[in-house]
């Protein structure tokens, strides 16, 4: 397994870095937050990102995509993590694309994927129902009635839920709560009657929604993948999602660390640069070590997807565990090392701590993944 980027992956990442630093630095995020932008991201910017090919990174060439794999996607997500850039990249480019590619039939793929690649269609994945990640804990019901399905239930923590045009819903068509069998995916227009989408205001000012489904009547064309057998697709997509989110979190942590390191080199107290105090130096060195370990875990996991490793799921847990713990540590320490200014809104450093807590919840906290890893390793 290669743990260093190849030339193509490196250049993709370099372009992403340059583009984001120029077009969507942290000040861009701050502006979206302060203006309470109704969409929560900049549409023009998203168009430009799509022009760079980012929306189609995971899409096969036959549907107009670039088939660059998770190594390509991870590099870009990491860069967006450094700049805290809000965009549909994760919810659409990773989640939506993966769900459609893996579950969709030919017609659906032909219809949806090219639009996504062009930046003309956004998606969201409505999975969670409780306050902690529990992928098969699905009570939302889809009942077959003739040629249609009727959906009832409540979804929460739907990333980009209020801005997406298509909502991919995981619903129960069979079996009891907590069972893997009997879960089915549906791809529904967000304007469908009976769907009540409420934007939630989260700590990190990013887009998350709550969706209530009341007698939502949809045609069976909306079925994405096999009836009752959606969970294996969900599992595969979740692995990718966890790994992709870890890449973004690695970017968050790397940047927070970088900012803090610079601060340590310029802030003077007691007549010395605070970076000369060993109490801070050692903690910085520990953070560096943890970041190195996180980087390897994330790259290893991205690679595991592209190489179709049969250990992909454990790699996903490794990445999300390590990214979660490291970002937690680094974001806390970064604020502390900034002293009083670290807790002011004017300084960017607090953004990383806020984002950290949200990102940690997305598709499983470190503890969730510790448990999953142990179970997968049979102990």
């Amino acid at each position: 397994m290669a743990l260093v980027l190849n030339e193509e992956q490196q250049s993709l990442r370099d372009i992403a870095k340059e583009f984001l630093q120029k077009n969507a630095p942290i000040s861009h995020f701050r502006e979206i937050r302060d203006t309470k932008d109704p969409l929560g991201y900049d549409k023009v910017l998203w168009k430009k990102m799509a022009e760079l090919g980012w929306a189609g990174i995971l899409v096969s060439e036959e549907y107009g995509g670039f088939n660059f794999g998770m190594m390509g996607m991870g590099g870009i997500l990491e860069e967006t993590g450094k700049t805290l850039t809000p965009s549909p990249l994760f919810a659409t480019g990773l989640l939506g694309v993966s769900l459609i590619e893996l579950a969709g039939d030919e017609k659906q793929k032909k219809q949806l994927l090219p639009k996504i690649v062009e930046g003309n269609l956004t998606t969201a994945f409505a999975l969670e129902e409780g306050s902690r990640h529990a992928p098969c804990n699905i009570a939302t019901k889809a009942k077959k009635e003739g040629n249609s399905f009727v959906l009832n239930g409540e979804k929460t923590f739907v990333l980009d839920g209020h801005s997406a045009e298509k909502i991919i819903v995981a619903a129960r068509t069979n079996g009891g709560n907590d069972q893997k069998l009997g879960i089915t995916l549906f791809c529904i227009d967000s304007g469908t009657p009976g769907m009540e989408i409420t934007r939630l205001s989260m700590l990190d000012s990013r887009n998350v929604a709550e969706i209530k489904l009341k007698n939502v009547n949809i045609s069976s064309d909306c079925l994405l993948g096999e009836l009752d057998n959606g969970f294996s697709i969900i599992e595969e997509v979740l692995d990718r999602a966890q790994i992709g989110m870890s890449a973004e979190m690695l970017g968050n942590a790397t940047q927070a660390f970088e900012i803090t390191l610079n601060y340590l080199k310029e802030r003077k107290q007691f007549g010395s640069l605070i970076g000369s105090f060993q109490a801070l130096k050692h903690r910085a060195a520990i953070m560096y070590s943890e970041l190195e370990l996180t980087k390897s875990s994330v790259v290893g996991a991205l690679n595991a997807v592209d190489e179709k490793s049969n250990d992909r799921t454990r790699f996903a847990s490794l990445a999300k565990f390590k990214a979660g713990e490291t970002l937690h540590l680094v974001s806390n320490e970064s604020v502390q090392m900034h002293g009083g200014v670290g807790v002011t809104d004017e300084y960017d450093i607090g953004f990383f701590m806020k984002r950290s807590r949200v990102a940690q919840q997305i598709f499983g906290s470190a503890d969730y993944h510790i448990d999953r890893y142990a179970t997968l390793s049979e102990y």
Binding site: A2, L3, V4, L261, L264, K265, S272, L273, G275, S276, Q278, K281, H282, A284, A285, I286, Y288, S289, E292, L293, T294, K295, S296, S297, V299, G300, D311, S317, L318, F321, K322, D367, H369, I370, D371, Y373, A374, T375, S377, E378, Y379
Partner: protein
């Protein structure tokens, strides 16, 4: 078939033919030396065959007796050795630390004199760096070497010299420039232990008997030609050698044979044995299970990191990253033993006697031994200093 594939097959055939069956299972490793002791005759055969082929030092140039393998070929060799569960043919500070430093800093003459014998394990080398007054602050060392004709006369004391009582030779840091600022007055010299001027005294560790010694030099002699890296230029050699030492110690963090994550780590097996599984096949102690899984995950992350650093530093020379490996690896290894002890309950706190198995006592004593991992070869605090200064560029 690629060259590498062909190499793999040749290697496999050769190992199949030459690795004695006794060496294909875990057990102690030979240290070589003038008075080499072998716990089994096969150990000797294995060392001779591997030494002859240069595969005790696979990547060293063949002119100096090494295997002359590329990095990729060496990887194949290690994989093949692992897959047959083969034991290391030789453990040696000569291989891990002195040799790499000689390759970089010694004269041709010195290389031809010392490297081939290291490959074959003819001498047991030990390391004379630390002194009672100079541990972390190594550059303050005071053991003196004074030139007398074509020899140096050495006086002073070293401490913590691992295996000094068994070693044939010692690579030593000595002060040759007493007037110079401290880093600039140090030389690196090779001294034969088998002479009246060198004596050793054992140190008992908290884990029981130990291979550590104090080493005394009273008018000991070393030929002037055995000064490596130039007069008063020993600090450069010393620092590089320490990087090699850290890299070696880092690998302890990976557990035995460096295998982590892929196969169940010894820790998991051990805890299954002592704690057992509950009705859902989970370790029957939720809190400990979570600690063990966390440790397991970190082992894997660490293993991947060492691999990545290896891939990134194409030349294979250790760098400041070795401090990260040393720091993390030794802290991680200590934690592994803490968890083993915790898993074993009262079986993990015996000292001697029939109520405890040999393995149990060994683990308990190894646990005590790991406490030195974050001290030997530079303490964790010192590694963090190195990282913050050399990697992160934080000010003094």
């Amino acid at each position: 078939m690629s060259d590498l594939q062909a190499f793999r097959e040749e290697t496999r055939d050769w190992l199949e033919l030459n690795c004695p069956s006794e060496m294909r299972k875990p057990g102690d490793v030979a240290w070589g030396g003038r008075n080499a002791e072998f716990s089994h005759p096969d150990q000797k055969i294995w060392l001779e065959r591997m030494g002859e082929k240069g595969w005790t030092c696979p990547t060293w140039p063949s002119v100096y007796g090494g295997g002359g393998l590329s990095k990729e070929e060496n990887k194949v060799l290690q994989e093949e050795l692992n897959s047959m569960n083969a034991r290391m043919p030789l453990a040696s500070f000569g291989i891990w630390m002195l040799g790499p430093a000689l390759l970089e800093f010694a004269t041709e003459e010195q290389k031809f004199e010392h490297l081939p014998s290291i490959v074959k394990g003819e001498f047991w080398w030990c390391q004379g760096y630390s002194e009672p007054g100079s541990g972390s602050d190594l550059a303050s060392l005071s053991t003196k070497a004074v030139k007398d004709d074509d020899s140096y006369i050495i006086n002073g004391q070293k401490v913590w010299t691992s295996y000094a009582d068994k070693a044939d030779k010692i690579f030593c840091l000595v002060r040759t420039g007493p007037q110079e600022p401290k880093h600039n007055g140090i030389s690196f010299i090779l001294i034969d232990m088998d002479q009246p001027g060198v004596t050793t005294k054992p140190i008992t560790l908290i884990s029981g008997k130990s291979p550590f010694c104090e080493t005394f030099f009273d008018d000991a002699k070393a030929p002037a030609k055995d000064l490596v890296g130039g007069l008063n230029k020993g600090w450069t050699v010393a620092k590089r050698l320490l990087e090699h030492e850290r890299t070696m110690i880092s690998s302890f963090g990976l557990g035995s044979r460096g295998e982590v994550g892929d196969k169940k780590s010894g820790l998991v097996e051990l805890s299954k044995k002592y704690i057992g599984l509950d009705s859902e096949d989970k370790l029957d102690d939720a809190s400990l299970r979570s600690k063990i899984a966390r440790h397991d995950l970190n082992s894997r992350a660490f293993g991947l990191t060492m691999q990545r650093i290896g891939e990134e530093t194409k030349i294979g020379a250790p760098s400041a990253a070795s401090s990260m490996g040393k720091y993390y690896g030794s802290e991680h290894n200590k934690l592994r033993y803490e968890l083993m002890l915790e898993s074993m309950g009262t079986k993990g706190i015996g000292w001697e006697g029939d109520s405890f198995s040999i393995e149990e006592i060994a683990i308990t004593r190894d646990w005590l031994r790991t406490k030195a991992n974050s001290i030997e070869g530079g303490t964790s605090e010192v590694q963090l200093n190195v990282i913050s200064k050399r990697v992160l560029g934080l000010p003094d």
